[in-house]
């Protein structure tokens, strides 16, 4: 069973790279450029984790988080310098980010969640 990560960013280049970096045998990355589009489709995807940019057209990452299920783990990846109200996120990564560290974090999280589910 694959672990579904949604990555949301209005920069399509980053979306593409994120998918390339993060995808593995057990991890599937679904990317979105618009939070509004995401909200329309998220129910059909049923993701295990969401990683979101902050500044996007239509909604900010924080605003989006409020609209999503509290049970869904959320990670914020942002270029903002000083951001408050990020309590809905389990972790905040600053852009530009160390993708290796991010990948390690996400994989550990995947392992943990998978393990939790199994038990």
């Amino acid at each position: 069973m694959t672990f579904k990560i949604i990555y949301l960013d209005d920069e399509s280049d980053i979306c593409e790279d994120f998918a390339l970096i993060m995808e593995s045998d057990s991890v599937q990355v679904i990317t979105f450029n618009s939070p509004l589009e995401l909200l329309q489709k998220i129910d059909s995807i049923n993701p295990d984790l969401i990683v979101s940019d902050y500044r996007m057209p239509g909604l900010t990452g924080i605003e989006l988080a409020k609209k999503l299920s509290p049970q869904l783990p959320k990670v914020l990846l942002t270029g903002e310098l000083d951001l408050k109200g990020t309590s809905d996120f389990i972790k905040v990564f600053q852009k530009p980010c160390d993708f290796k560290a991010l990948r390690s974090f996400l994989y550990e999280l995947e392992a943990k969640i998978t393990k939790d589910r199994a038990s």
């Binding site: 790279d17 994120f18 390339l20 970096i21 057209p57 270029g79 310098l81 980010c97």
Partner: protein, 665 residues
Amino acid sequence: MNLDKINFKLIGLVLIAIMASSSFFVYRAFVEGYVQLDQKSTEDSLTRVHQSLLGQQRFIQEKIVDWAKWDETAQFVRGGNKEYANKNLTEEGLAALSLDFVAILSLDLKVIGKMLPSGQTFSEDMSGKFSFLDPKGSLISPSEGPSSVEFVPYGEQIAIVTAHTASQADGRDPGGKVVFLKTIGEDMLKRISEQNKLKVELVPASSLPDSANWKSLSFGGFENKPKFAAGFVAIKDSHAKVLGYLKTEISRDVLLFGTQTAKHFFILMMAIFLGLIAAFVSFTLFFAKAQELKRKAKIVDQLSEAQALAAIGSFEYSPETGALEISDQTIKNLDITNTELNIFEAIDSKLLPTDKDKWQKFVSESNASNPLSVNDFQIMTHEGPKTIQVRLTANLVGKCDTNQGILSFKGTVQDVSAKVMLEKELENQRSLAMRNSRLAALGEMSAGVAHEINNPITIIESTLLIIQEKQLNPEQIKARLERIAKASQRITKIVGGLKKFSGTVATTEISRVNLAKVIQESLLDVEQKSVNSSVSLSADITEGPMVLANSIEIEQLMVILMNNAIDAVKTLENRWVKVILGTRGDRAFIQVQDSGSGIPPEVAARLFQPFFTTKVVGEGTGLGLSIAKGIVDAHHGTIEIIDTLKNTCFEINFPLAQEQSDEAA
């Protein structure tokens, strides 16, 4: 009533003249004059005299006295002075008398106007002055003057004898001693009578009955005040005979005198009355004038106080005549002492050297065809440098007909040092506020800027990791490197845009600015934002307009307007922003239009107020348009909302820079 035109000196002189003449009439009436206004008492007196004379006549007629009774007769005739009768006349005079002729005199009192000074004896050369007046000029009164006069034959001559009274012996006739004045001849008598206009009829003594026996001719009967009648008695030995008497009648002159006195009195009263009126009028005028002067003095005080408060001094100066009126405040403002100076030279002498040419030009350009000149000048005073503002008007005074008058200047000198300092301070504060607001805008932008920069860096990072980890063929690597280059260019561009806003304080530099170029640059600044917001950005730019401006501020202005426009339309269905640059007459205009449907009037009214914003909290500071307004104002431009279009449109208007041969800047 214009009190200035009243000649108070003249009024004073007239008053003095009236008072003096009044005094004169008072003197005449009460001191010199023989005041007798009561006609009834005058008539009474005359009646008494008449009766007295009648009685005298009767007495003499009835009693043809003999010489032995002379005393009695003389007493009656001369007023009952025994001493007079007995001693003086008999002993000193009558003894030598021989009667040659008789003078019959009728007195015309009107001409008795001259007097013999008191204490002087009659002399030939004084004959013209001989009169029957007392020393005070009054007609002879029994109590004061000679009570009788006798023409006494004395040898070949006639002696005129007067009884000069010195004391009052009784109520009727004071008596007195006989003064033997002089014996005079016939010619002299004629002269005296002519000079005194006495009617003298000379009758040879021999023609009188029993003339050889007549010793003396006497006339008397002076009675109380109206002394105008006389009776005559011829005395012969021991006999006296009445020769005749003058009619008793009221002399016109007495009445005239009374009338004249009345006239004098009337004039006096009139004079007093006029004097009172004049005094009243002059007092009223004087009082009004005093009030007026008081009021003027108060106004002058107020003016002077107002001048001091406003630090405005005034002056009036005519270079041709040198006439100078100068207020204390002017002297104070200019820090001068000699008010006799030529005011223009006085100002010139206080000017800082840098302002001297400006002042010369200022004065020379002030003439009748240039109604008001105003300029500021720097002067040096003992308190240090000051800024004065001089206002000058020139007028042609007088000689209107020839249209060539004297040039006269009126002006004010205001100490505006404090104002200038305040303005400088305000300018500093404004500059600081501009800088602060620019920093605030920068702060507002920085979050977005960080995002804009961090994203491309993120792309570079991720691409590098992919190149490291993935097995890529050369084509793929090339594509990845191009992506890195693109991201790098994005960063370069953003940083380049930021530099403009991080401009130093020295952004007040003004130069000839090509508006088209500045707008192109500002379009680049907002390009990314418009792309992000899916707003189509277009421009319709006429090349060429040059303005005198600070290019960074103009660019900032454009960014503010375009950012606002993008923010305003980004949630709309139809999203576009258009910038238009053109010229209209001697002005350049820039329009920023967007797809919005205009600005509601209640918003438009507050649009340029600082901290007014319609944006959601966190998105706008409300400073943008107030900064924009400040920039436009500093460039002598205008900014307004064009509400005749279907869409929202801001229009900015700048004066075009004048043509220059060298395309500088």
